[in-house]
């Protein structure tokens, strides 16, 4: 199936851009007329993935984060968040709820759990030393003509 619309975005891994990234993706998805809840779910999932790239992938050093998003005819939105950071040694462990490699005690270790619960599908591919790509899929309820 070919996408009906696509976008690409590259930005620096500064924590101020967490807000920029989720807002930009939300604005792109807005063309599908999602519900407020669907919109917030997508913003939250994108925020988690981008934060992971900043905190874990690049360990707070400044480099590029790449987002691409596509909308498919069946109202599916596929969002890819990619970094060229340190990669994940053990994806299974990283995705375990409450697991965190962060020792400050301020990260809950729930990023992937949140993404999984708010999206229909979460795919993670990573190579140690090369980077990580997270692909989020979320279907938007079709409201066209069915409202009220």
């Amino acid at each position: 199936m070919k996408p009906v619309n696509e976008m690409k975005l590259t930005f620096k891994s500064r924590s101020t851009n967490e807000s920029f990234a989720r807002t930009a993706v939300a604005a792109f998805v807005a063309t599908l007329d999602p519900t407020v809840e669907e919109m917030t779910d997508i913003k939250t999932a994108v925020s988690e993935a981008v934060t992971n790239s900043i905190v874990h992938g690049y360990k707070e050093s400044i480099s590029d984060i790449y987002i691409s998003a596509a909308i498919y005819p069946d109202n599916r939105v596929v969002i890819r968040i990619k970094d060229k950071g340190c990669g994940i040694e053990d994806i299974g462990q990283a995705m375990e709820p409450l697991y965190t490699s962060c020792t400050s005690g301020e990260r809950a270790g729930l990023g992937f759990a949140v993404m999984q619960s708010l999206c229909d599908k979460v795919r993670v591919s990573s190579r140690a030393g090369r980077g990580t790509t997270v692909t989020l899929t979320r279907k938007i309820s079709s409201r066209g003509g069915q409202d009220e």
């Binding site: 924590s15 967490e18 925020s47 934060t51 005690g105 301020e106 809950a108 729930l110 759990a113 949140v114």
Partner: protein, 107 residues
């Protein structure tokens, strides 16, 4: 202002505002912890009334303040949670910590 702190009779209320993500949580955490360390309140209330967005950084913020209040021998209450914020907190099982109050004043 992302966080405003009020103290009355050993009850400290931190009114959080705007969007809670990894970027903003750090500032909120420092403000709240600084004030709590100085005044040792018996109750710390985190008020989410003016929070428009929250990701799992907000969970870390609540869990971290929960441990802080345990250390200080006080209690933590989390109030005025909107639908989305409640959903994210329930994911983390924070409702089981019995700190979540939705009360009559919630939006």
């Amino acid at each position: 202002m992302p966080v405003q702190i009020y103290l009355a009779d050993e009850i400290m209320t931190a009114c959080l505002g705007g969007e809670i993500d990894h970027h903003c949580a750090k500032y909120m955490r420092e403000e709240i912890d600084g004030a709590a360390q100085r005044s040792h309140p018996s109750v710390l209330i985190l008020d989410f009334k003016d929070v428009s967005f929250m990701d799992s950084s907000g969970i870390g913020l609540v869990m971290g303040r929960y441990s802080l209040m345990q250390e200080l021998g006080g209690e933590l209450r989390v109030v005025n949670l909107s639908g989305h914020i409640k959903k994210v907190m329930k994911l983390a099982g924070l409702d089981r910590l019995a700190v979540m109050e939705t009360g009559g004043t919630s939006k």
